[in-house]
């Protein structure tokens, strides 16, 4: 393998690992604020209990996000020097604003939010929570401005082969930014909703029926049920925007080879770039045209329009984009079904959380990290969908890669993969450990009943 593909795998691995954690902290910060405000107004201890349990997971998640984020800021230089040399005049200020307006804010107030409860007045502690949540969201804003600009660049001109900014408002509010930001923030909300619902379901399954666990479960399920339809709407808008600015990406997502009308919605297929057709296609006639153009005979661009006369493909690799898009959408609809069913059971006979069947709790437990899978699948759809460009129409990925020996990149890649695997296992197991510990009084014995063959590896402290 050459330096280009190794560097791409390495950056892909880094950003995939990194994005897991901000996806949680962005929305969890606001959810913690909700818990805190509920406590402030009701003085009900269950909300403070919820805050204190989830703030620990927030702290852990935040630390993982910080360290994996630092890695990425260095990798721009170590592996992709061509990126900053070509578009540094635009990427630079956006990254600088992220550091100045978001990173310091969240890092400093995190200390006060985590350890300051007994040291500062309650309003300042609530204020610190607000600022941390605001900081994580600002961070998402700036980085998605840059990411969107790489997909739909605007407000610049080329001078001597280097990009120069001409209009900062056009750069910041570039065509895909509002949709991408909205899509990402909603994804974060859904990821957190299913994380909180899953862990709360786990705690209920091991016998913790405390007021706090029930309150967090209910909050999370309602949040998921409200956000999922919004996400479907936002996803549709985002897709239409992509059709306008990056039609080749939509063609790959749909598995559509020829520019034509009455395009079917392909539910499943095995796209083949050699023969340029789909095998084993299962499709609903006309529906892709309907979704993308809002008319049955609407013309949708096909992949074959993006092959140069000499045979060079100027469209992304089809299969990964096609499959990951389907995984994302599939999980989305599963989330919709599960969250609405749970709300239905909670409303039926007004039984609340008690009305949710045990089997559904197992379902939520199974979907604890479903938001991660959907996020990564969506991320791969859009990022692989941008290839062969790094900055659409301006800079190819191949032109930006640094001149580092492949063996060196391979060694660092293996190192990263090993440490990421270890950290991921540790992260997930610690979350479940904290959940068991928080439900300790009733939980330990029932956990043993749930998993009779597994020895309890945690002596109670």
């Amino acid at each position: 393998m050459d330096t280009l593909i190794l560097s791409r795998i390495q950056f892909g691995a880094n950003i995939s690992f990194h994005i897991l954690f901000p996806t949680i902290t962005i929305a969890l910060g606001w959810l913690l604020l909700f818990f805190k405000l509920r406590f402030n107004s009701t003085q009900d201890g269950k909300w403070m209990e919820a805050y204190q349990f989830w703030v620990k997971i927030f702290a852990l998640t935040f630390a993982l996000g910080v360290v994996s984020g630092i890695t990425m800021s260095f990798q721009f230089g170590t592996n992709w020097p061509g990126f900053m040399e070509k578009v540094g005049n635009i990427a630079g200020p956006l990254l600088a604003y992220e550091i100045l307006t978001a990173f310091f804010l969240e890092a400093v107030f995190l200390g006060i939010m985590l350890f300051g409860f007994s040291k500062v007045p309650n309003w300042l502690h609530t204020g610190a929570t607000v600022l941390v949540a605001f900081g994580t969201t600002m961070s998402a804003f700036w980085i998605l401005v840059l990411n969107s600009w790489m997909h739909t660049p605007a407000g610049f001109e080329l001078r001597d082969g280097v990009v120069h900014a001409t209009d900062w408002m056009a750069i910041i509010f570039n065509p895909s930014m509002p949709y991408r930001l909205g899509h990402k923030l909603l994804a974060s909300g859904l990821t957190v909703a299913f994380l909180v619902a899953g862990i709360s379901a786990f705690r209920m399954l091991i016998g913790d029926r405390g007021a706090s666990v029930r309150a967090t479960f209910k909050t999370a399920v309602v949040l998921a049920a409200v956000l999922m339809p919004l996400q479907i709407l936002m996803g549709d808008k985002h897709g239409l925007n992509t059709l306008e600015y990056q039609p080749q990406k939509v063609a790959a997502m749909e598995g559509n080879w020829e520019t034509q009308g009455n395009v079917p919605l392909v539910l499943f297929a095995i796209p083949d770039e050699e023969t340029r057709e789909n095998h084993f296609e299962v499709a609903i006639p006309n529906v892709a045209s309907l979704i993308l153009t809002h008319s049955f005979d609407g013309v949708v661009p096909g992949l074959n329009d993006f092959v140069a006369e000499d045979g060079t493909k100027m469209h992304p690799p089809v299969a990964p984009v096609f499959y990951s898009f389907r995984i994302m959408v599939g999980i989305g609809f599963l989330m919709l079904a599960v969250s609405w069913a749970a709300v239905f059971f909670m409303l039926r006979k007004r039984r609340g959380v008690e009305g949710v069947p045990k089997l559904m709790l197992w379902g939520f437990l199974g979907m604890t990290f479903s938001g991660w899978v959907a996020t990564l699948a969506g991320w791969y759809t859009t990022e692989i969908g941008r290839q062969p460009w790094l900055v659409e129409g301006v800079l190819t990925t191949a032109a930006a890669v640094g001149n580092v020996p492949p063996s060196m990149v391979l060694s660092s890649l293996i190192g990263y993969l090993v440490i990421y695997a270890v950290l991921l296992v540790a992260y997930i197991s610690v979350i479940f450990y904290l959940a068991r510990k928080a439900s300790n009084k009733t939980g330990e014995t029932l956990w043993a009943q749930l998993k009779p063959t597994a020895p309890i590896n945690q002596p109670a402290e």
């Binding site: 540094g88 200020p93 600088a96 990173f103 890092a107 590896n457």
Partner: protein, 336 residues
């Protein structure tokens, strides 16, 4: 833009100063964090918990200065950023692994099951060690003009060891300020031992740097520069002596002067940093690329500068607030 004179001259200087400032703040602030990590295996668990509690509320913000420094290098001097970081590929990788281990160990050691705490403590130490050594190694290679010869690698190994000693030292002075009783006594002992290493390291690097390049040699040792610059090494020697005196007198009965070693050590780091900055100016990639050649377009630098002027004072204000809230001797870290 004209208020700064010719923007192609003034903006690179302003950003070089900002970059230098961020690196200096990082070296002092994360220096004591890493130092505490390096010292953490030297004592028993109760003390280790207290040591880590003393940096717990700060480490994240402290590390952000490194992100700012790399960010400024990236945004203000894009050409230099690529050259330096591709040349330092391997040590940067070690640094990042180290920072990752160190950062997550903070959380995991407190939250993972009790029997895994030892392993995370080991990761905390190993991460701090990897980060310190690799930073020192990169400093050495940078001083030697990013050349990979036997001499420069040997020199880089030397700076790796001395920077690690330096971080342990400033970590010990931080602990003198933030702890009391038995742990404070231990920290004073560590600082006394570390001081010799710091003195030796400063002298070794001060003598070696001029021989790294003729340009640096003439900047320091020709007349009249040698006279004009004399206060810098003399003040450093005076600070070393004051540190030695202070560490002999501590601990005092009412804990007065417990802040002094940390303050002196910070000043010493500042002077050493000024010396290095003077040696390298105007180069950002030693002997190859000046700050004027490597700078990004003036309009891009200007828009960052506007933001920095507005936001930096606010960052200082809330950082000060955080240090004020967690002032005094470190207490157990509690979420409630």
């Amino acid at each position: 833009m004209m208020i700064f004179g010719d923007p192609t001259i003034s903006l690179p200087i302003i950003f070089a100063v900002l970059l230098g400032f961020s690196i200096l703040v990082y070296v002092v602030l994360d220096g004591f964090d890493l130092g505490v990590g390096l010292l953490s295996p030297l004592t028993q668990e109760v003390h280790r918990d207290k040591m880590i509690a003393s940096i717990g509320p700060f480490w994240d913000a402290n590390e952000t200065w490194l992100v700012l420094a790399v960010g400024l290098l990236l945004v203000a001097f894009p050409a230099a950023h690529g050259t330096i970081l591709t040349a330092l590929y391997a040590p940067v990788f070690i640094l990042l692994l180290g920072l990752t281990l160190r950062g997550v160990a903070f959380e995991f050691r407190a939250k993972a099951p009790a029997h895994k705490k030892k392993a995370w403590d080991a990761a905390f130490f190993a991460g701090s060690l990897m980060a310190s050594l690799s930073q020192g190694f990169m400093l050495g290679l940078y001083i030697m003009g990013l050349q990979f010869t036997q001499v420069s690698l040997a020199f880089a190994c030397l700076t790796a060891v001395f920077l690690t000693v330096g971080y342990s030292f400033i970590g010990a002075t931080w602990l003198i300020m933030k702890t009391a009783g038995e742990l404070q006594l231990k920290a004073i002992r560590w600082a006394r031992q570390g001081l010799w290493g710091v003195g030796l390291g400063l002298i070794a690097i001060s003598f070696a740097t001029p021989f790294a390049s003729e340009r640096i040699f003439s900047k320091w040792l020709e007349f009249p520069e040698a006279i004009l610059l004399a206060p810098l090494p003399l003040m450093s020697l005076a600070l070393l002596a004051m540190l030695w005196l202070a560490l002999q007198r501590l601990p005092t009965s009412n804990d007065s002067w417990a802040w002094a070693p940390f303050a002196f050590a910070t000043t010493l780091f500042f002077l050493a940093f000024c010396g290095l900055a003077y040696s390298f100016y105007p180069y950002v990639v030693p002997e190859k690329l000046t700050i004027y050649e490597a700078a990004a377009a003036p309009e891009s630098l200007f828009i960052i500068l506007v933001g920095a002027c507005v936001v930096m004072p606010i960052i200082f204000a809330y950082s000060a607030l955080s240090f004020f809230i967690f002032r005094g001797k470190a207490t157990e870290l509690r979420y409630d």
